[in-house]
């Protein structure tokens, strides 16, 4: 076999410890960092305004809420998700800045290692998916609590409905994951060859319906997450009333 690297150059980016993506002067990436820091700061301010509620219910502490507690896990799930990977590699790291070729000319000669070095962690997406699935029941539990928090009766509130919609969105998003697509059939070459897999790939085809919309689902569910969290914090702080019906 011929030497595969015969006419190739060494890749200098391969020996760097910190991935080039994090050290380049790239306005997109650094503005994102800025927005993130600003967002966290604003969340801190939010607490200042609602300190009454904090002392009453302890619910709006920005650094200690159910969302904040699960963020590391669902965060890793989403950061290694194929949908978000596409988005941040493109729009934060500019690899490539656009498919449109005229826009890309200035990017020749940039260091690049793709998902071979630091970003290899993205290959552990499957494990983060298991954790994300394990967390899902707690969202349903949230909805259950929103129904039953007044003892002896069932309460239907806007907040509760929003929690339910958010939970459904998170569930559909999670189950549309590419790793799940692989597990439910993608890994098989033949759906009807072995007796054990006589399913004919039904699960695979059903999952693929959702998987096709994985990116849209990812962003819908993320936007909802933020909205629901802010909504609940605002309700807990008494900023907006939670319209409800006691049945």
């Amino acid at each position: 076999m011929e030497n595969k690297n015969a006419n190739k150059h060494q890749n200098p980016a391969k020996t760097r410890l910190i991935p080039v993506e994090f050290t380049e002067l790239n306005w997109r990436f650094w503005s994102f960092v800025l927005i993130l820091v600003l967002g966290i700061y604003l969340l801190g301010l939010f607490q200042g305004n609602v300190s009454d509620a904090v002392s009453k219910f302890g619910l709006t502490d920005p650094w200690y809420s159910p969302t904040v507690l699960v963020i590391p896990f669902v965060g890793l799930f989403r950061l290694t998700c194929y949908a978000y990977r596409k988005d941040y590699h493109r729009h934060l790291f500019d690899h490539p800045v656009a498919c449109e070729l005229n826009t890309r000319q200035d990017k020749l000669g940039r260091a690049y290692t793709g998902e071979t070095r630091f970003f290899r962690v993205e290959n552990f997406h499957r494990y983060f998916m298991y954790i994300a699935v394990a967390i899902l029941p707690f969202f349903y539990y949230d909805f259950y609590v929103s129904l039953t928090y007044i003892p002896g009766s069932i309460t239907l509130s806007i907040g509760g409905i929003i929690i339910l919609v958010n939970t459904l969105a998170a569930t559909i998003y999670t189950f549309s994951c590419h790793s799940i697509r692989h597990l439910v059939g993608g890994r098989m070459d033949c759906f009807s060859c072995t007796a054990a897999h006589k399913s004919g790939g039904k699960a695979y085809r059903f999952q693929s319906i959702f998987n096709t919309h994985h990116e849209a689902l990812a962003w819908t569910s993320l936007a909802m997450f933020v909205f629901v969290d802010l909504y609940i914090r605002a309700v807990a702080a008494g900023i907006i009333p939670n319209l409800h019906m006691v049945l």
């Binding site: 076999m1 011929e2 595969k4 690297n5 190739k8 150059h9 060494q10 890749n11 200098p12 980016a13 194929y82 990977r85 596409k86 590699h89 493109r90 690899h95 490539p96 498919c99 449109e100 070729l101 005229n102 826009t103 890309r104 990017k107 020749l108 000669g109 940039r110 690049y112 290692t113 793709g114 998902e115 071979t116 970003f119 290899r120 290959n123 552990f124 997406h125 499957r126 494990y127 590419h178 790793s179 697509r181 692989h182 993608g186 890994r187 070459d189 033949c190 759906f191 009807s192 060859c193 004919g200 790939g201 998987n211 096709t212």
Partner: protein, 250 residues
């Protein structure tokens, strides 16, 4: 629309150091595609213009070019969708032969290196397979080897020198063999270790470009990456797969 202003990249590497876009004005004909316009120039204005095409039906994959900054088939791009200024250049990911013609030969080397189809042992002739099983592999058979996906892929285009990625077309081909119900091989390890699948950061430009609408990233690259995860990153999957293949005796 009456006339079309057509800028065509002209360069003869044997005679000139650098190429340039030359503008031609040609009469617009209802329903014309870019290839018609380019051939009008070739036949009526400058017969030295080099352009490669065969079928004019989006089937042979030879008329690939960059039209207004987008890799497209000349025979499948209608002029009226582009406005009055049409800019046609060769695929820049490949060495230029002349004008719009490039040398895509590097692909034949890659094709040879991907392990070929190997039928499972003990198959009874004639080979039989079910429609549900062949469906996935069939999607990839639509490929016309236009190499537009290779041209738009930023790894092939901007990082070819320092990476060993084969490119989306070859991931599609490997996937079509891998997912074939009667094929015995698993090419994920080869793709991961030799074909540089790790360099693809699933940004999907190839998928958006493919004139055959093959879902390159979703249906070929990501599933192959997941298979590579089984082999290289997921100890539990490795254990299970190891057990199963022991049971099957291979």
């Amino acid at each position: 629309m009456k006339d079309v202003k057509l800028s065509i990249f002209r360069h003869d590497p044997e005679k000139e150091k650098e190429g340039k876009f030359v503008e031609y004005t040609i009469p617009y004909v209802e329903g014309m595609v870019v290839l018609d316009a380019v051939r009008y120039v070739e036949e009526n204005i400058d017969t030295t213009l080099a352009v490669r095409w065969n079928c004019k039906a989006a089937h042979c994959g030879s008329c690939s070019a960059e039209i207004n900054g987008k890799p497209s088939l000349m025979c499948k791009t209608r002029v009226e969708t582009l406005g009055e200024n049409v800019n046609v250049g060769p695929m820049k990911a490949y060495p230029l032969i002349k004008d719009l013609v490039t040398d895509v030969g590097a692909n034949w080397k890659s094709i040879k290196r991907v392990p070929a189809f190997k039928p499972k042992e003990g198959l009874q002739e004639p080979w039989r397979m079910q429609q549900v099983d062949i469906e996935r592999s069939k999607e990839f058979k639509r490929c016309i080897e236009c190499f537009l996906c290779q041209d738009v892929c930023h790894v092939m285009r901007e990082h070819y020198e320092e990476t060993d990625y084969f490119g989306p077309r070859h991931m599609v081909r490997a996937a079509s063999l891998d997912m074939h119900p009667l094929d015995d091989l698993d090419r994920a390890r080869f793709l991961n270790e030799d074909a540089g699948i790790g360099y693809c950061n699933i940004t999907k430009c190839c998928q958006e470009t493919c004139p055959e609408h093959i879902r390159i990233t979703d249906d070929a690259i990501i599933p192959e990456k997941e298979r590579a995860v089984d082999i290289a990153y997921d100890p539990i999957a490795r254990l299970i797969i190891g057990r199963k293949s022991k049971k099957r005796g291979n």
